[in-house]
């Protein structure tokens, strides 16, 4: 029941925020010179350089490496400084932050973009933080945790006891590394995305898609006979209905990770859009008097986003655990998945 409530909650929050950017882009046409829609899309999108801030005409930007492969041309590697302000280098140029070849050849863009740089940074942070936590355990053994170890221990224990054990059951241990990694990866990157100058990594559909596909692959590779029996011969369904049920169940297999992908992407992106929209209002109204109001709202949204950051990490992890649980469960507790069974009240139908 609690899980169902959460799922509903995040769906509602998704629709509520998704409606916001439409209004601001409509406003954008009214304002001259300043294009809030463009500004917002630029902020939430990826780019080949890391633009920190601008003072008048001075742009403070970190130029990141561009790596591209073109068939017949080979690998090109250079700094994105060469492409700044529409310049062409090595037959490549940027069109709306998209790397294209002048001669129209297909470009495989492996550039270390702002998101990739942020990804590497977050990977380093994750490794540093959790090896430090692990060192705490190595040092103190079975004693009480201290410092950074005691901060993360309750969260790790929560993921283990409340997410993995309850959703997956006795086989939870195999999936703990993935669940913990995905939880902290999403959480840390959500938080890094909220920092000034941070990249919108978890609000990028490529990232959420990759995570969702990994979840799908783990689910499929750990699925047992019951899982497939549930799809191709759903228990309690008359034979005549199977031609309808099988496609529905098969679609369900792919809809689950798809929902994971869209939920995380939309929540985080929407949060960024709303925050930026409130800031953009100051420039749209061209009135400093609006600032306190928009800042108050922006601050409110920011705190909400801090909550959403961990909430979305939790939801992604929980749903991943539930999908895995659905794939590995034995016959008897066959009806937990998705339907909102909360573990305490096992299975109905059959």
């Amino acid at each position: 029941m609690k899980r169902l409530l959460f799922a509903l909650l995040c769906l509602f929050s998704l629709t509520a925020r998704a409606s916001e950017p439409v209004a601001t882009t409509a406003d954008a046409t009214e304002a001259e010179g300043f294009q809030p829609g463009e500004m917002i899309l630029h902020h939430i999108g990826d780019s080949h350089e890391w633009h920190w801030f601008s003072l008048g005409e001075d742009h403070y930007t970190t130029y990141l490496p561009v790596l591209a492969y073109r068939a017949g041309h080979g690998v090109s590697a250079f700094s994105s400084r060469e492409l700044a302000e529409g310049k062409t280098y090595d037959g490549l140029k940027l069109e709306h932050e998209h790397l294209v070849s002048e001669d129209g050849a297909k470009v495989y863009d492996f550039s270390i973009t702002k998101n990739v740089a942020s990804l590497i940074l977050s990977a380093a942070v994750l490794l540093l933080v959790f090896t430090a936590v692990a060192r705490g355990y190595a040092k103190r053994g079975t004693e009480a945790p201290r410092g950074i170890q005691s901060f993360f221990e309750p969260i790790i224990v929560f993921v283990r006891d409340e997410v993995a054990k309850k959703s997956i059951g006795p086989k939870y241990e195999r999936y703990m590394p993935y669940l913990l990694t995905v939880f902290f990866f999403i959480w840390f990157n959500n938080l890094m995305g909220l920092m000034p100058g941070g990249a919108n990594l978890t609000g990028n559909i490529a990232v959420t898609m990759t995570l969702a596909i990994i979840t799908l692959l783990i689910t499929l590779f750990s699925s047992n006979k019951n899982y497939w029996a549930h799809i191709f011969a759903t228990p309690g369904v008359p034979k005549a209905l199977l031609p309808i049920m099988i496609p529905v169940e098969l679609i369900g297999v792919f809809v689950k990770p798809f929902s994971l992908m869209v939920r995380l992407f939309a929540n985080i992106t929407a949060g960024h859009i709303v925050t930026l929209s409130f800031i953009a209002l100051i420039f749209i109204f061209r009135n400093i008097g609006v600032a306190p109001v928009t800042l108050a709202f922006g601050l409110f949204i920011f705190f909400l986003e801090l909550l959403v950051a961990i909430l979305q990490a939790y939801i992604f992890t929980l749903l991943t655990a539930m999908y895995i649980g659905g794939a590995v469960e034995e016959h008897h507790d066959a009806d937990y998945q998705m339907g909102g069974g909360d573990g305490a009240t096992p299975a109905q139908v059959h």
Partner: protein, 164 residues
């Protein structure tokens, strides 16, 4: 870059970096962390169980002690009772023996007294007979001479005789 179009390069890097992070964290963070957590939990559980067991043992020990104490008390009571019984028996025995001895001694004494008395009486009788014979002899001797004097003599002799 459109926000809903996944970018190929980013997918590539995401897969590579995420998998590296996953593998590194799995072996350098999650495994040691989870095994330590498990170890700690099991050690706490073990300690709790041991405490429970110790408590139980303590209770058993206490119960055993009480039982022992009760047994000892019973033993003491029994010994005391036996001792009392024996002492009263001894006293009784001593009393009866003393009484027997006393009565035996009294009887002996009585017998001795009786014997003495008989002996004394016999002696008195002998003496009296002897005396009577002596008197009679003297009377007989005096009679031959003087009548009044004879009487006088008898009186004086009778005075001499002191029957003790």
């Amino acid at each position: 870059m459109n926000i809903v179009t996944p970018d190929f390069g980013l997918i590539f890097w995401q897969v590579v970096i995420f998998l590296i992070v996953l593998l590194l964290l799995r072996s350098f963070a999650w495994k040691p962390i989870l095994s330590s957590l498990k170890e700690r939990e099991s050690s706490i559980e073990g300690a709790l169980r041991m405490a429970d067991q110790a408590k139980l043992e303590m209770q058993q020990l206490q119960a055993g002690n009480e039982k022992l104490l009760a047994e000892a008390r019973m033993e003491r009571d029994r010994i005391l009772k036996e001792a009392t019984a024996m002492s009263t028996q001894l006293v009784e025995l001593a009393k009866t023996r003393a009484t027997e001895e006393g009565s035996r001694m009294i009887a002996q004494a009585r017998e001795a007294i009786q014997n003495e008395k008989n002996a004394a009486l016999a002696e008195v009788k002998n003496t009296a007979a002897q005396l009577s014979i002596d008197i009679a002899e003297r009377i007989l001797r005096r009679e031959l001479t003087d009548q009044p004097a004879q009487q006088q003599l008898v009186d004086s002799y009778l005075k001499e005789v002191k029957l003790n």
